[in-house]
């Protein structure tokens, strides 16, 4: 990856992080868009799995600092999805919009599963509702937002050559 591409990827990452802390609270939806997951996934496919895990860990830790009761859960989940996205990037080399949408959906749902499990706050029916209703809904909305952002940022985010 050239310096220009690296700079553009960093810029896109920063924009997504800013969106997470501005647009998300502004919208205030019950099933919010997770811009941090989109940022980690888009970064992860451009770097090696180790670096992707590190990016995910740092991003998760930053997010966890606002929820000290679940401290570490976000870092663990982000590390996992970052590394997994980086290893599985060969699947998404085709730059297919639908595949990217599925990628975001699966990434967000996996993040929620790991997060809720590591957090150990909810149990029973509430856990099932969270994982089988709210998380898929949030993942779907995140996927839609991710596709829109990907289309908007396409000039900036060129996919890495296979």
């Amino acid at each position: 990856m050239t310096w220009a591409r690296t700079a553009r990827a960093i810029l896109a990452f920063v924009v997504l992080v800013l969106l997470h802390y501005t647009l998300r609270p502004l919208l205030g939806w019950r099933t919010p868009v997770d811009f941090l997951v989109i940022a980690v996934l888009l970064s992860a496919v451009r770097v090696r799995p180790g670096a992707a895990a590190l990016i995910g860990f740092c991003t998760g830790l930053v997010a966890d600092s606002l929820t000290p009761s679940a401290f570490g859960a976000g870092a663990l989940a982000m590390t996992g999805i970052g590394a997994a996205a980086s290893w599985l990037k060969a699947v998404f080399f085709a730059d297919n919009v639908v595949l990217h949408g599925f990628f975001f959906f699966a990434g967000k749902w996996a993040f929620d599963i790991v997060y809720v499990m590591a957090e150990r706050r909810v149990q029973g029916v509430e856990l099932a509702t969270q994982l089988l209703l709210w998380s898929p809904l949030s993942a779907a909305i995140t996927a839609v937002a991710g596709i829109i952002l990907l289309l908007m940022l396409r000039p900036v985010l060129e996919p890495q050559a296979a």
Partner: protein, 376 residues
């Protein structure tokens, strides 16, 4: 090449494992340590993001509460608009209370209701009737002066005509009793409805002796002649003379003391109070009570000003005394008794403060200017 790939994979795996272990460790850290790390992050890296989030949330809550805020603003504006009206009404009621206190007895206070359509603004329904002692042809007054007369009476209410009514007439005089006449409404243009000219709300003082000239601004009171209105009720003030056809009498245009739109609460003078009683003192004392209250307020201000000036003067005197004392003390400590207080001072000089004006700067008055250009 294969070794490099293998080595890279090993590094990736090690990084992944390290990150996972650290994340798992973070989940099981003691609360204090966890809070310390999270707090450190919040104060440094996350602080700008947190600020952005707070502003976004504030913006959202402002957006959500905009309708409630707008409706609250509307209701406050509405109340504010009503406030001016309430203040005016309050002032009028206070004045009415003052008038009632001056009258002491023989009156009934009533509300004057406007129950006639627009354009017929010459009558009022009063909320006091024969049960309260009101009779036909009894005068209706307000704190400002004469309003009109009761026309018909029911047990609980009565109908009064205002001075704007074409049947209104009252015997009147100038305040110095030099001119007498009859007051009528000024009916130069008797149109009705919305386009009533402003002159319609004026009065005329007719039949004033030709030899008597009234200056604009002269107060006109009821004279007590005719038996309906007692003497001394303010009717209005002279605006100017009207050109009349009669050559032996003058007619004056009068600005009325009471404006019809202001007639909302009135006092009905009962017949016993009207019989042979001059009410001149009532209005004079009402006016004087008002001016006395203003004078008291002004006096309070001047007393406060004088007290402030006195305290300032006392503070200046204290400061001057303190300076003089300290100078004296310095002189007493630094010099032996009987020696001059300052180097170069004459023997026998004391440490008393110098006079306010220097003797050498006091100029003698020039003989050529004496008595000229002096300020009184």
């Amino acid at each position: 090449m294969a070794r490099a790939v293998r080595s890279g994979t090993r590094v990736d795996t090690m990084l992944l494992v390290a990150c996972c272990v650290m994340a798992l460790l973070a989940t099981v850290l003691p609360v204090t340590l966890r809070e310390a790390i999270a707090g450190g992050l919040r104060r440094t890296v996350v602080a700008p993001l947190l600020s952005l989030q707070q502003q976004a949330e504030r913006g959202r809550s402002a957006f959500l509460s905009r309708e409630a805020t707008t409706s609250r603003l509307d209701s406050v504006s509405l109340r504010n608009m009503q406030l001016a009206r309430l203040e005016t009404e309050n002032e009028r009621l206070r004045a009415l209370l003052g008038l009632g206190r001056q009258l002491e007895w023989g009156f009934v206070s009533a509300e004057a209701l406007r129950s006639f359509p627009i354009g017929e603004d010459h009558q009022r329904v009063l909320t006091a009737g024969s049960n309260a002692g009101v009779e036909s042809k009894t005068p209706v007054v307000a704190p400002e002066g004469l309003v009109g007369m009761v026309l018909s009476v029911d047990p609980t209410q009565s109908i009064a005509i205002l001075w704007t009514h074409r049947d209104f007439a009252a015997s009147a005089m100038s305040a110095d009793r030099s001119a007498y006449g009859i007051v009528y409404p000024h009916l130069s243009d008797s149109r009705t409805g919305e386009d009533i000219p402003p002159e319609r709300y004026l009065l005329e003082l007719r039949g004033v002796a030709f030899r008597t000239a009234l200056k604009p601004g002269t107060p006109i009171l009821t004279s007590g002649l005719g038996g309906v209105y007692p003497a001394g009720i303010p009717v209005g003030t002279v605006l100017g003379e009207l050109q009349a056809s009669e050559g032996w009498a003058r007619t004056y245009l009068i600005r009325p003391a009471v404006r019809p739109p202001d007639v909302s609460n009135v006092i009905v003078l009962l017949p016993k109070r009207v019989e042979g009683q001059s009410l001149d003192r009532v209005w004079r004392s009402t006016v004087s009570a008002d001016s006395a209250a203003r004078k008291i307020a002004a006096a309070g201000d001047s007393i406060a000003r004088r007290a402030a000036a006195d305290s300032l003067r006392a503070a200046e005197a204290n400061a001057a005394r303190r300076v003089a004392d300290s100078l004296a003390r310095v002189g007493a400590v630094g010099q032996p008794a009987g020696s001059p207080s300052q180097p170069g001072a004459r023997p026998g000089a004391t440490a008393t403060p110098p006079p306010a004006g220097r003797a050498d700067t006091t100029r003698p008055s020039r003989p050529d200017t004496t008595g000229r250009g002096r300020r009184p």
